[in-house]
């Protein structure tokens, strides 16, 4: 197995462990969407993006914006593993005065713009993309959205504008896990035909398995190569991915695991890692 892929898989499992531990410690937060977006975030921070954790404000960095702010545990874990801040900060998540707020806040190194109110992030990312074009810079902007989130009208205003402004430096990712707070997206507010929607708004669309590192990396490569239009990656994912009793379970959208659930989850993640390692040795 390719060393890079193996490395990324290991990182993803590490991030999943941290998400579970962080949320159990905090006693509240959103595991489902954090776990479904873990592989996407892992690829971005450990392979795709050009960034310098020791200098978060480096002007030529690629930018990441977590439009679905409630999934910040995945982002926080990735940022800490990259070295943006000490890992021990993770254990203060959601506590009074903590650097890691319940939703992203600019007090956290690596967070570009606060989020939490859904539906604004693609516009924020579009603003960044415009800034990059004005300054004739080659850095790119990645914006991670939830599938429930894109029911917001503001997203489609941004979608229309990004194509209008030909923002090929902008790459959106939809974490298509088919769940939102009240249930399945198909039941609450159907998104289909989703590919057609983005295409008709003028975007280049790539679909992939959002838990397959190879496919994700290919998708990001393809996005980079597309000129004169923005690209959206529709990443097919499983909400709660990696922890069996959280997968496809609505309740774990916004409920933290108990101490006991945390222990079971960590065991499962250890198992996953072992299986991957043995696969690697073959």
């Amino acid at each position: 197995m390719d060393r890079k892929i193996k490395f990324l898989k290991k990182k993803a499992t590490e991030i999943r462990r941290l998400i579970v531990q962080m949320l159990a410690k905090a006693g509240s937060g959103h595991p489902g969407g954090s776990l479904s977006s873990t592989d996407i975030i892992t690829c971005l921070f450990f392979a795709v993006m050009r960034h310098t954790p020791s200098d978060p404000q480096w002007s030529d960095r690629d930018r990441f914006h977590l439009s679905k702010g409630h999934c910040c545990p995945a982002l926080y874990a990735a940022l800490s593993l990259c070295g943006y801040f000490p890992k021990k900060e993770l254990w203060n998540l959601r506590q009074l005065g903590a650097m890691l707020q319940g939703h992203p806040d600019r007090r956290t190194p690596g967070v570009e713009v606060a989020s939490g109110s859904l539906g604004q992030g693609l516009s924020v990312a579009l603003g960044m993309a415009l800034a990059g074009k004005v300054d004739k810079k080659d850095w790119r902007i990645y914006c991670l959205m939830g599938d429930g989130e894109i029911q917001e009208g503001n997203i489609w205003e941004a979608a229309m504008a990004a194509a209008h402004f030909k923002l090929d430096n902008l790459c959106g990712v939809v974490d298509y896990n088919h769940f939102q707070i009240d249930g399945r997206t198909e039941e609450i507010m159907n998104l289909e035909p989703l590919v057609n929607k983005w295409e008709s708004f003028g975007w280049h669309v790539v679909q992939c398995d959002g838990h397959n590192i190879e496919e994700l990396l290919e998708a990001f490569d393809e996005a980079k190569a597309i000129k004169f239009k923005p690209t959206v990656i529709i990443a097919h994912t499983v909400k709660g991915k990696g922890v069996s009793f959280m997968e496809h379970v609505v309740d774990f959208h916004g409920r933290a695991p108990t101490a006991q659930e945390k222990d079971i989850a960590l065991k499962e993640l250890d198992e996953i890692e072992k299986i991957e390692e043995t696969k690697g040795k073959k």
Binding site: V113, A114, S123, L130, A131, N154, A161
Partner: protein
């Protein structure tokens, strides 16, 4: 007396800023002719973005641009720069303390014939509770220019409110400083605190009062937030009665801001001239000002009654 469109001066000031600072970018939402941002757009097309009729997108994108070091001026009508985009303004702009300067035109009843749907009378109320945002209501075109420059030079978000109609230039203005009001005329019987187009109306009202043997101290309170507490307390100590005049609902605007200061620091008899918790309607600006009691004669009449009432 000189009378100018504040938005004409806004457009020209933008060009000045655009020339001296490449970080300046300007956004509009299909009202660039009316707000005059089109003037900047013609001069600097690469730094001007028209978002079409999509104000939420414009405001959140303004935040994104500011996050990359741009100084962003975003304009549309006051109605669509506030109520329509509260969440974007609060969460994407103000919470991040970004350099986004929202400069809204067509505020207030003097929008006129377009009627109530276009008469933003709650904008200041909506925005005043948001932390880190500064709110300025300039009294004429030149003070608008001062406010634009101040906003440009000051880190953080601003809301600057302009009207649609031409606005008389106030001759007695003093040096503009964000957060610092000033006495523009000294008088005896009460103090009038005003902002925006109500500044001129208040000065005219004072002329009428003087003809009847009474007079007012008139204060230019161009900054609604942060409100100049010291000046308000100072005025209250010198005058037994204060009247606040604004082209806004009497709920949540300048009147409320003054009341909040006085209730806590120096309880004083207070009266108000503003829109009394009602929607507007179509009419000429002059007719509407008269109808809602906002014109100089209405102010003078209310002031006379107020002076007599508790003496």
């Amino acid at each position: 007396m000189e009378s100018l469109y504040a938005r004409d001066i806004y457009g020209k000031t933008l060009i000045e800023l655009g020339k001296k600072d490449l970080r300046v970018v300007v956004l509009d939402a299909d009202l660039s002719g009316s707000t005059r941002t089109a003037l900047f757009g013609r001069e600097y097309p690469d730094r001007f973005f028209n978002f079409g009729v999509a104000e939420q997108n414009m405001m959140a994108a303004a935040a994104g641009l500011a996050s990359c070091g741009k100084i962003v001026f975003a304009s549309t009508f006051a109605m669509f720069a506030t109520a329509r985009v509260m969440d974007q303004v609060r969460n994407s702009i103000c919470y991040n303390n970004f350099n986004v300067k929202i400069v809204a035109s067509h505020a207030g009843i003097t929008v006129g014939e377009d009627g109530s749907s276009h008469q933003a009378l709650e904008d200041i109320n909506l925005l005043r509770a948001i932390p880190q945002l500064r709110i300025i209501v300039p009294c004429d075109a030149w003070e608008t220019r001062d406010a634009i420059f101040a906003a440009y030079e000051t880190e953080g978000p601003f809301y600057i409110r302009m009207g649609r109609a031409k606005i008389p230039t106030i001759e007695q203005k003093k040096k503009f400083k964000v957060g610092k009001g000033y006495v523009i005329e000294e008088g005896e019987d009460l103090a009038i605190i005003a902002c925006g187009i109500m500044m001129n109306e208040s000065l005219e009202a004072n002329k009428l009062l003087k003809k009847e043997g009474v007079s007012a101290t008139v204060v230019n309170m161009h900054t609604i937030k942060p409100i100049d507490e010291d000046l308000i307390v100072d005025i209250a100590k010198k005058h037994k009665k204060i009247m606040v005049c604004e082209e806004h609902q009497v709920i949540g605007g300048l009147y409320s801001a003054v009341c909040e200061v006085l209730a806590r620091k120096c309880p004083t008899l207070i009266e108000r001239v503003g829109i009394e918790d009602s929607f507007g309607q179509s009419g000429s600006p002059k007719e509407l000002m008269d109808f809602y009691g906002l014109s100089s004669s209405g102010i003078a009449k209310k002031a006379q009654k107020f002076i007599r009432q508790h003496s």
